[in-house]
Each structure stands twice: as structure tokens, then as C-alpha cells.
Symmetry: C2
Subunit: 223 residues, 2 copies
DNA sequence: ATCGACATACCGTCTGGTCGGTTTGCACGA
DNA sequence: TCGTGCAAACCGACCAGACGGTATGTCGAT
């Protein structure tokens, strides 16, 4: 059931509204922002690429900034929903922390590859957002990290993850991989998305696992 | 000796020319580009912050783009020089691959923290460079990665690093940490730079080491 | 007749870059 | 020591154009 629910959260299903213009403009903006950057893309270019007029665009969006924020909003909502979904499913099944974390990490990588253009924009253009919007993005990302951190801390308490590195560093270590994807990953490359997600997740997990030596007396829960 | 040579490559020693104006303008540009972004910073702002006039600036720099490229140039030269230095020193001493790699990684992290502003600009503004300049940056970074990859491949051949993940993925896994630093690291944070460099390097190395099981018959070289 | 969905023409602002001119630093001959 | 010449350093007013955004109008559906 939860698996089906997760599948229902596929990228394409997150609404870009039903209006055609809204849709088209946002798609064109995402594409242009990702390839040319926000500042170097004019509203004229966007509406031309979308096949609409400036009047139409400004009927649906308050400003160019609004257009940019819509891209962030969509991405943040989607990723947060998937994370919540996976954590809830893991809790329901009583999965071991490491299994939940592995599922989460692989999902984040996979989703980030599907949202490669959004990822490019996210990294490059965050500082172009209006200050209040920037704060909103930070707030949302913070909320996301908190959920992720809770997972890590549970693992640390259970003794399966190392406790000699601050959780903040562990988080940065993982999300660096995710945020770096748009800068090197090419769909034309040799690996499949799933393989890459597995590999990156494995590298991360291997790095953060507690040393097998000096196991605590607390009962280890086998898978 | 090589240690002294490395120390001689400190950040501050890389020339920003001796002319005061050149110096001042570049510093102001770096600062503003890092905080506001390239496109949203006007030449007027830069020269005002540097305390010079536009005429003076255009006497030393051909264009705004030139200003941006100078920042990249400086950073790339410095990092490449340090990498070469460390690899050469390791070869001279006959160090084990893992020790050389550890030294390199820690140095990259440390240097990247010293060049935090440059790192911010690097990630955000690469697409604003003139196409030829963009290609030049890519070329330089490629050269850097090739040296790094040689190190990894030597380790893989010797059996100390895992061979079930492509080197390209291993490289991305490490440099993601480096490139992500400007987005989360704060000098006001709890860890010292050296600690953080050690931690990130350790996480990386732990991830890429070959499994201790199934050791190859080739003689393992103990440290 | 009212309203949402657009189209079109237009505006004020700001930008990167230029250019003619002036000042400064300095070698050199008398 | 002083003038002289000359190039490099520097000034700042100016420009052409592009940009985000708006005001006003049209049109079909209800």
C-alpha cells in the first residue's frame, strides 16, 4: 500500500496546475534557467519558448521571481513528501535504521536525477530569490534535514552508526553527493540511475557505519 | 623541503599583482560576487566598493567577464599547484597510496575552506563566463581530476581501494564534499578546519577502501 | 454586462562599456 | 637641479540598448 502510495508520488504527478499556459511557461522557464541561468534569461525568452505572450505570463505569475520560486516549491514539496512516505513505511514495518536510511538515500538520489534541471537551478539561483523567499526555501530544507538527522541519530544511539563525527557533518557528506549530481551526471553515461543510486548510497553507508570492533553490549538487531 | 615548498604556496602568496587598483578591484569583485551573485552585481558597485573609478578598473580588466575569470584562474592555479606538490612529495618519499590520498584530500578540504568565497562563485557563476572561458575552466578541472584519478587507480590496482565502483563515481563522491562546503560550512561552527578536513577525508576513505575479506594474493604493503 | 484570459504597445530604469581628456611617474639630457 | 618628453594610470560623462513590468484594450463565455 505504502509502496503504491509512493509510486503515486511520481514526479510527473505533482501538479503544474491544469492550465496550459501556466504549465508551458513553467516548463520553459525551468529549461532556460537550467541552461542559461536565471539572470541571463529574459522574460521575453521564456514566453517565446513557451509560445505565449508576456501578458499571458503575467496573468499567472506575479513576477519573474515568482516563476523561479515555483520551481523551488515544486521540488521541495516532492522531496519532502517522498521522505515522509519512506520513513513512515519503514516505521510501520519496523525496519532496521540502516535499511530505512538506505531506502531513503537511494530514493533521494533517484529523484534528484529525475529532477536534474531543478537541481541545477536550485544550486545556482538560490541567491536570486527575493530574501523572504530565500528564507522560506531555507526553512523547508531545514525541515527536511531535521527528519534526515533524526534517522541518523537513531542509528547512532543504536550503535550502528559512528558517533565520532557530528551528525551535521554526516548530513553534509550525504547531501553533497545529491547536490553535486547536476554538475557531473549525464544520462548518456554508462551506469543506470538505479546502479548509481546504489553505489553512492553504499559509499555513504560504508563511511558512516560504526567500527565493528568495540561493539556495545546493547543488543544488535539483526535484519 | 617539500613541506616548506608547500607552505610557500599559501593562499595569500599567489599574486594578485602588485598594483593596488588591480588588487582592490579583484577583492571587491570576489566579495560581491560571492554574496550577491555575478549578474546582480554591477560594475559600478564593484568600483565603488574598491574605492576606484570605472575608468581605472577598465584599465586593468577588459570586461566584467575578465574580472570573473581572474577569480577562477587564481583558484584553479592554486589548487593544481598544491596537488602536484603533494603527489610529488609522496612519490619522493615512497608513501603508500592511501597516505598520499589522505594528505591530498585533507589539503583540498582545508584549501577550499580558505577559498570559501571563491568556491561560492565557482559553483554559482560558471555558466556566466564566456563560452571559451567556460571551456578553459573545464579543461583545467579535467586536468586536476585526471591527476586525482591516477591516484585512485593506483590504489585500485594495488587492491587497497574497491574496484566495484567506477573511478568517476569515486571522484564525484569526493569532490561533492569539497564543492558543497560553501553551502553549509560556517567558520563560526564548532569544528576547526583541520578536524573537519580529517572527518570528511575519513568518511571518504572508509567508503572507498576494499573489503578486508577476499584479499588478493598480491603482497599487501603495510604502512 | 460582467469577468477571466489573454494581446500589444509602451515606459522608466539601469547596465556594461567607451572615449576624449587630464594627471602622475620617471628617465634623461643639459 | 631643473626642465622636458612621454607613456602609463586614471577620470567621469556619456551612450545605446535591453530589461522587468504595466496600462489599456479585445474577445469569448456565462
Amino acid at each position: 500500500m505504502s509502496r503504491a502510495a509512493l509510486a503515486a508520488l511520481a514526479v510527473k504527478d505533482v501538479p503544474m496546475r491544469t492550465t496550459n499556459v501556466h504549465d508551458q511557461v513553467l516548463r520553459a522557464a525551468l529549461d532556460l534557467f537550467a541552461t542559461q541561468g536565471y539572470a541571463t534569461t529574459s522574460v521575453q525568452e521564456i514566453v517565446a519558448a513557451a509560445g505565449v505572450t508576456k501578458g499571458a505570463m503575467y496573468h499567472y505569475f506575479a513576477s519573474k521571481d515568482d516563476l523561479l520560486f515555483a520551481i523551488y516549491e515544486r521540488m521541495l514539496s516532492l522531496q519532502k513528501a517522498r521522505l515522509d512516505q519512506l520513513v513512515a513505511a519503514g516505521a510501520e514495518r519496523g525496519d532496521a535504521v540502516e535499511d530505512v536510511l538506505r531506502a531513503v538515500c537511494e530514493d533521494v538520489v533517484t529523484t534528484s536525477i529525475e529532477l536534474l534541471a531543478e537541481g541545477t537551478v536550485y544550486t545556482r539561483s538560490q541567491h536570486m530569490l527575493a530574501p523572504e523567499r530565500q528564507a522560506e526555501v531555507k526553512r523547508r530544507r531545514r525541515a527536511y534535514h531535521d527528519d534526515f538527522q533524526a534517522l541518523l541519530e537513531r542509528g547512532i544511539e543504536e550503535g550502528v552508526f559512528r558517533d565520532d563525527v557530528p551528525p551535521a557533518v554526516l548530513i553534509a557528506h550525504f547531501f553533497s553527493d545529491v547536490h553535486y549530481l547536476p554538475q557531473w551526471y549525464s544520462p548518456a553515461g554508462p551506469e543506470t540511475t538505479a546502479e548509481l543510486a546504489e553505489q553512492l548510497t553504499e559509499l555513504f553507508l560504508r563511511g558512516i557505519r560504526a567500527e565493528p570492533s568495540a561493539t556495545k553490549p546493547s543488543g544488535g538487531k539483526a535484519k
